[in-house]
């Protein structure tokens, strides 16, 4: 009589696969941080991505700088490109700046009290964004193609990512605008991967998705 003994649960293939994945760090949740200056288009890009992959936006967008004043997290986004899946959480951070002048907000019709409150909240948001650098596993550094890319905030973000060995892609955003100069971003950061897109119009998102799969997987 042949006795069939089923393999104990801990000897199953999935058990070894789990161990193998843990050794490779594959079970780690990918947390992709969206970093950059205020108004560079981080939330527009995050919204574009969550709309593309889970069918809903992540946050509010406005013309007033520092609209995002706390970190927003969208869990379980699955990006599929060329048959490869990338599962990750989106961490949309407030724009990083070295200064906040509340009078700038008055130009957008905010009252003085609202402008000062916004400035105070923005300082906290920047601190939170910097703290998240310790937790993200990959970063999209979003740069407005119509602005000078060589700013202290961008340099500080990149320096910290390199020091922490966190992979990142520079996203030259707003290429739909007539005064966009994405080539300038390519020329000042030749050592880094730069993808030019319009998050608003959805231009060149395929190339960005492909590079995300390659770099962050």
């Amino acid at each position: 009589m042949i006795r069939v003994v089923s393999m104990p649960r801990f000897f199953r293939r999935s058990f070894f696969k789990d161990i193998f994945n843990k050794l490779l760090g594959k079970n780690k949740i990918l947390k992709i941080g969206f970093y950059g200056h205020p108004n560079s288009g981080k939330t527009t890009l995050a919204n574009r991505m969550t709309n593309d992959w889970i069918g809903k936006p992540i946050g509010l967008v406005s013309q007033i700088p520092h609209e995002t004043r706390r970190v927003y997290r969208q869990e379980h986004v699955t990006l599929k490109h060329d048959g490869i899946e990338l599962n990750f959480d989106i961490i949309d951070t407030p724009g990083i700046a070295t200064k906040i002048d509340y009078t700038n907000f008055l130009e957008f019709g905010l009252s003085e009290t609202e402008a000062k409150d916004r400035a105070k909240e923005a300082t906290k948001g920047i601190i939170e964004a910097i703290k998240w650098l310790d937790d993200v596993t990959g970063v999209l550094l979003v740069i407005d193609s119509t602005e000078d890319p060589l700013t202290q905030a961008n340099i500080t973000i990149m320096g910290n990512l390199e020091a922490r060995k966190i992979p990142f892609i520079i996203v030259a955003n707003k290429i739909d605008l007539p005064d966009a100069e994405p080539d300038k971003i390519f020329s000042v950061f030749p050592q880094h991967k730069v993808i030019s897109i319009s998050a608003l119009e959805g231009d060149n998102m395929g190339e960005l998705y492909q590079n995300m799969v390659e770099r962050f997987r």
Partner: protein, 126 residues
């Protein structure tokens, strides 16, 4: 900056003076001086972690009425390796000052020009 005489104080700090300090000491020293209206010129640069700490400390110190933050500019220089095979940029000097004072800064690869704004009554210093 002296609000009465509208003069600007600039502190020049050598790299050896800074190297004896911890990161926290460096950042505190810079923010204290800049918050006081002074301009700090450092030989060399800060590490990326120190830069992040500087921004974080500045955000904690911002008082929307009186201190709006800092501006940082660096001037880089080429550094050639021992055998002259590779060349990379390193920070030669770093200038950090109050954002409401460093109004106009023109920067090229080997040139930095700044106009300090001393007389703006709408930009309080302290």
């Amino acid at each position: 900056m002296d609000a009465d005489t509208k003069s600007l104080k600039m502190d020049f700090l050598s790299s050896s003076a800074l190297n004896s300090q911890t990161s926290m000491e460096k950042v505190s020293m810079i923010v204290d001086r800049v918050k006081n209206g002074d301009l700090v010129v450092i030989e060399g640069g800060l590490s990326p972690e120190e830069e992040a700490e500087l921004i974080e400390t500045t955000m904690r110190e911002i008082d929307v009425e009186n201190f709006m933050g800092i501006d940082i500019y660096t001037l880089e220089k080429d550094k050639t390796s021992f055998f002259g095979l590779s060349r990379k940029k390193t920070v030669g000097i770093t200038i950090i000052g109050p954002a409401n004072v460093m109004k106009e800064v023109k920067k090229k690869s080997n040139f930095l020009s700044m106009i300090a704004n001393l007389g703006d009554s709408d930009a309080p210093m302290h």
